[in-house]
Subunit: 330 residues, 2 copies
């Protein structure tokens, strides 16, 4: 059996975020689904960008944020994702490497530009995302190195990968390689609408292929088409080893076989921008697992990660996460 | 005489900032002059960027920040500066227009990429800047539309323009056009090292061509090669109509003929990043002037603008500046 080189290998859409404050009226005027991630084409991306206010740019992407958080917490992390050989692609590659993540995926030399996600942050700190996938559609199974997967304790996949066809194939190949090597597979359901688009396949994944599931309340109730959170807990129980189900300020519930752990949300002064909350929740949880911690402790680390990221704009940590964790956990 | 269409027309280097936190040891290890702006070539830019931590990108440029602030305060603003037709150039153009500044300069279709400024922000909130001028070196007198200048009450120029030769010619042309049309010329000295590079010419400018001068303590003492601030006040008196001299937390002194106004710094909870402090100081001051306010009031508006910008990362306002000003001034 191959040696473990990475605690977590993430595969996801490689995206640069463009963040700008917006009023609710702006979302309404432009027919934007508040709180959701909507896929858009190049033309709509130009139209929305022209309408958005002055913004800032920061590297993003769900699984990329998660492995960036793992690395920031001292875990060994690797990322597979596709950028173009353009300016935003260089920024993405720089940032993920600078935080300590191994990133070897060759940039595309032709085709669409590096993906961008236009994020409107409303005064209630909620983010509404419109993603132009760009070069992400060029990610395919050929980008998945099975030796890397075999050398990673956990392969972490974002549900968003189910959208671009090549990425879905890459996802399936990675999942198979992980299982063949006796490694664990973690999945984030990503977004309620994403679950709607792929419900049957996601149900099958969770039941037959995934060890560790991350979902928020909206995603897990959508997955099982149930009305309330308790029904969702009941539905997911036994489907995978561990399900970490988040409920924003109401904290999270971790379901693992017969165990159920309720973990309170980490207190926070002011929520500025919720972009990346779920991603950094997963960072904390996965790092806790790789350190051999108990599930409630993993949940606590997850909550601390999420609390840091929502206290400022953008989805990558702004403080020394490792030091913060040490301070909080004692 | 042409009608006034703009309160302030700014001419400056069109730059995208790349901001990342850094320790003092990082500056020392890479031979970086703390607190200063150093010009670098493409090779050094790549080397420093590779060494920098994960960052965020935001539109910047000294005079560009100033006119962005004027527009945010409700003034009529226009900007002349050169980007390339690349991704960072699109971001720069988007952001300055989105905040309400007219920006018509055609992007360069060949040559160096859009300029970037690598900004290391140390824990004391000081910023150390390394600028790759890129496409800014393509700005020339042909980009200066004399009708635009004649239609602007104040033409605001940054000292940094004296570095690229074409921009210096553009500067001189703009200054001549403003004076020929009976308009005012404002100059920011930009940076102590920039003053060192061009001292004699800047002294001549201030004495013979500039109505309104912005400088911080380091810049004005460097300009007149004096040891202390009071000597600098004495030296600049009578050289131009108004000199607004800033001293960070010690506030500012406004010298206008026989008048001297001492204005306290605006109180602030925590200084996060001083990038753009001088630029937004100028925004507040110029907007106050265009509203016909007294010099102490202009100084107060300037201080409020500076205080907002140093309370967060980046050099463009993050709140509704106009509303903030109304709240503070009553």
């Amino acid at each position: 059996m191959a040696e473990i080189s990475y605690d977590v290998l993430g595969i996801g859409n490689a995206i640069v975020d463009v963040l700008a404050p917006a009023e609710d009226a702006f979302l309404e005027a432009h027919g934007m689904a508040k709180g959701a991630m909507t896929l858009i084409d190049a033309e709509r991306a130009e139209e929305l960008y022209a309408a958005m206010g002055s913004g800032t740019e920061a590297s993003g992407g769900s699984a990329a944020n998660t492995v960036a958080g793992v690395a920031a917490l001292g875990g060994r992390a690797c990322f597979i994702g596709k950028v173009r050989d353009d300016e935003l692609g260089s920024i993405f590659a720089h940032d993920i490497r600078a935080i300590g993540v191994d990133f070897h995926s060759a940039p595309a030399t032709s085709g669409a530009p590096t993906a961008r996600c236009l994020i409107s942050v409303t005064p209630d700190a909620k983010r509404t995302m419109h993603t132009f996938l760009g070069a992400c559609v060029d990610l395919g199974p050929e980008d998945v190195d099975e030796d890397l997967i075999a050398a990673s304790a956990i392969t972490y996949l974002e549900g968003y990968l189910w959208d671009p066809p090549g990425a879905k194939e890459a996802f399936i190949k990675a999942m198979g390689a992980a299982r063949a090597a006796g490694r664990k597979v973690a999945l984030s359901l990503s977004d309620g609408f994403c679950v709607d688009r792929h419900r049957d396949e996601f149900q099958d994944l969770v039941e037959h292929h995934v060890n560790l599931l991350f979902a928020n309340e909206q995603e897990i109730t959508s997955l099982y088409e149930v009305d309330d959170f308790n029904a969702a807990i009941k539905a997911v129980r036994g489907k995978c080893d561990i399900a970490a189900l988040t409920r924003s300020e109401k904290g999270a519930v971790i379901v693992a076989g017969d165990e159920v752990h309720v973990v309170s949300a980490e207190p926070i002064d002011a929520v500025v921008d919720t972009t990346g909350a779920g991603d950094l929740y997963a960072s904390g949880f996965l790092t806790g697992l790789s350190e051999g911690r108990s599930l409630p402790e993993c949940g606590r680390m997850a909550g601390i990660g999420a609390a840091e990221i929502i206290s400022h704009m953008g989805a990558r940590p702004e403080v020394d996460l490792k030091a913060l964790m040490k301070e909080k956990l004692g």
